[in-house]
């Protein structure tokens, strides 16, 4: 079956309409992937498909992919830590403000992800980079224009949901200022999605780490500069490091294409072999950090369980990592999957331990 193809120069008046998907209500224009990552080009080839021929998944399941729901764990985890921290200290919790602020944080993360995908599409990166492309645009489920509008919607919603906390707890303003500064510098410095530049690593660490956790701490009614505030910063630092580790693993998985496209991030800078040591060291820091938290107040059996589970993942991950022979192929994908699963497991076992401690604490008192 022949598919209609159209190549347009970027200077063509019609180009933006096709790229954004606003050229027609009946048709979608999907940019054809190119394998030539380092070739400069001013033209894009589109596949023109009838919208009625594009069948999205059943029951709107594609929205899970569009909104990248599984990434929300990067916010859910700090929310959980904040609540546990305040509950353990028997501090009164402002549930309404905290919940609204949490929903606001979720919305902002969705907005950033959508905007990244939109920028990737606009710059042509999604045609070159297999992982970057917002596959939802490639599949014709949404247009870039819709994605842009949704990102503005979620950004606005995030701001709106955070407003009550800002009014009630003015110190949240400092957090918002930090977010705005980091976000503006990161997003406006480059014309493409955030995660391909070195600045993105710092942004991810701060925005999903101590900045987020301090903002949540205040929004849930936590006081400034008390012991729980500093605990929130420490928890935030750890969750920021987890997010940063996840980002570096993703960058490592795409090291070949990133390097061909001349993206400079820590992993592409270090290269295939030296990055193994970097990632191994990073992972060990995460595991040791977790074990230190356990040492500070866990029961022996709980500590030993964490030690066994984290040792298991350490062994699996490091064995796969140092046996890697190729930056492409199934082995690197398996290794990175093990790392992601391992970091998720660290989150889960720590969360379970904190819940258990809280439960025991509540029973005793």
């Amino acid at each position: 079956m022949k598919i209609e193809l159209l190549t347009l120069d970027k200077k063509d008046d019609r180009f933006l309409g096709y790229l954004l998907g606003t050229f027609s209500k009946e048709f979608r224009a999907i940019p054809v992937q190119s394998l030539n990552v380092h070739q400069k080009t001013n033209q894009v080839t589109f596949k023109i498909l009838k919208k009625e021929d594009i069948v999205p998944p059943f029951l709107g399941m594609h929205w899970i992919q569009i909104l990248k729901i599984r990434n929300l764990i990067m916010v859910a985890f700090p929310v959980f830590l904040t609540i546990i921290n305040l509950l353990s200290a028997r501090q009164p919790i402002e549930w309404i403000y905290g919940t609204l602020a949490s929903l606001g944080a979720f919305s902002l993360l969705i907005a950033v992800n959508l905007h990244n995908d939109y920028l990737d599409h606009l710059s042509g990166l999604d045609r070159l980079h297999p992982d970057s492309r917002s596959r939802v645009i490639q599949k014709g489920w949404v247009t870039a224009s819709q994605m842009k509008n949704w990102s503005f919607f979620y950004g606005f919603l995030g701001g709106l949901l955070g407003l009550p906390s800002l009014i009630q707890f003015p110190q949240v303003g400092f957090v918002i200022l930090a977010v705005v500064v980091i976000g503006l510098v990161g997003l406006t410095s480059y014309k493409m999605g955030l995660r391909y530049r070195r600045w993105s690593e710092l942004s991810v660490f701060f925005l999903l780490g101590p900045v987020l956790s301090s903002g949540l701490h205040f929004s849930f009614g936590g006081l400034s500069l008390n012991a729980e505030f500093w605990k929130a910063i420490i928890f935030g630092t750890y969750s920021g490091l987890l997010s940063l580790f996840y980002l570096n693993i993703k960058n490592y998985e795409q090291i070949m294409v990133n390097d061909q496209a001349r993206f400079v991030n820590t992993v592409s800078y270090l290269g295939f072999e030296r990055s193994k040591w970097f990632l191994a060291f990073f992972w060990v820091i995460l595991v040791l950090g977790l074990l230190v938290f356990y040492l500070m107040g866990a029961e022996l059996w709980s500590f030993l369980s964490a030690l066994v589970i984290s040792s298991f993942f350490t062994y699996k991950f490091l064995k796969k990592l140092f046996r890697l022979q190729s930056p492409i192929g199934s082995q690197i994908a398996e290794c990175c999957f093990t790392a992601k699963l391992g970091s998720l497991t660290l989150m889960i076992i720590w969360s379970l331990d904190l819940l258990l401690k809280l439960f025991q604490f509540r029973i005793v008192t």
Binding site: T7, Q325, G329
Partner: protein, 317 residues
């Protein structure tokens, strides 16, 4: 003895030092076989673009030198015993001579091109050689990986195979100092597609599909390498079962592994269909090439059009 790819004086013993033992014998062997397809592709462009005869010879020689250098190295890396029906250079002479002979061809390319005086051509050729070597390196790193996916292999083939085709399409224009970005972008995509189609067709031979020349089957699989067709056919096989591929010894075993003869034929149909899209894309880009050609160059279009039939379907011209 002068070796001629049809219509071309590609290799003249005067090009190489006579005092180096066995070098000219090695090249006699190497250049006396082969279809010289890449050289012929240069001739198509030269005829239609009215390329200077010296430039034409230089380009044809360059691409054949680079291609044959890669074959010398490839055969040693793969420990192949035969090339074009003859004993491979590393076996007939020594591995050291095979490596050095390949290196010498590449060095000769640089000497000849730099004498031509077009620095962009030298730069582009150097980039192409670099891509070719990267592709070789990456392909070697995938030996033993039975779970590699088709889109990953495409990236390797774009470096290893397609880079030569891209060069054949772009170098004649660079030699004429025609550097329009859109022109080269179009040629780059066309070269990628030709390379992909050629590689995929070559990979089909390993499974005795359109194997008109009667090449040995399952060579790739037995060497521990999953080619593009195998990756396509096994993409729905559970990952845990893919390791079984290393035990497959015959074509019948492979067909049974994927689900039987019918399933195999169905997968072949789907593979051909997927490649039909690549062919369609190639012809789309070919049509776009038209606007970059002068009126007296338009015949290039009709000369380039049958290439997909030749390379993928293996239809004789």
């Amino acid at each position: 003895m002068q070796i001629q790819s049809p219509d071309y004086k590609i290799f003249d013993p005067q090009d190489f030092p006579a005092y180096l033992p066995k070098l000219n014998n090695l090249y006699d062997d190497l250049f006396s076989g082969g279809k010289g397809f890449r050289g012929k592709l240069i001739k198509i462009f030269a005829k239609n673009l009215k390329l200077d005869p010296k430039a034409e010879t230089l380009l044809a020689q360059t691409i054949e030198f680079i291609h044959n250098a890669s074959l010398l190295h490839d055969d040693l890396i793969d420990r192949s015993a035969l090339r074009r029906g003859k004993t491979t250079a590393w076996l007939r002479f020594t591995p050291e001579y095979a490596v050095l002979a390949g290196d010498y061809l590449l060095a000769r390319v640089m000497v000849n091109l730099s004498g031509f005086g077009n620095i962009k051509l030298v730069q582009y050729t150097a980039q192409m050689i670099s891509d070719l070597l990267e592709g070789e390196w990456l392909q070697d790193s995938l030996v033993g990986d039975f779970k590699v996916e088709l889109h990953q292999l495409d990236r390797v083939h774009n470096l290893k195979t397609a880079s030569l085709f891209k060069w054949c399409l772009r170098a004649p224009f660079i030699a004429q100092e025609r550097y329009d970005e859109n022109l080269h972008s179009t040629l780059e995509e066309m070269g990628t597609l030709l390379g992909q189609l050629f590689q995929r067709s070559d990979d089909l031979l390993d499974y005795d599909i359109r194997n008109y020349e009667g090449k040995a089957v399952l060579g790739d699989l037995r060497s521990g390498y999953i080619n593009s067709f195998a990756a396509f056919v096994t993409q729905h096989v559970p990952t845990s079962e893919k390791e079984y591929l290393k035990n497959i010894k015959t074509l019948t075993d492979f067909k049974n592994y994927v689900g039987g003869e019918e399933v195999f034929e169905q997968k072949l149909k789907e593979f051909d269909q997927a490649n039909e899209f690549l062919i369609q894309l190639y012809h789309h880009h070919l049509k776009n090439l038209e606007r970059h050609l002068a009126s007296h160059e338009q015949k290039l279009m009709s000369d380039l059009s049958p290439l997909t039939d030749l390379l993928y379907w293996r239809k004789k011209p």
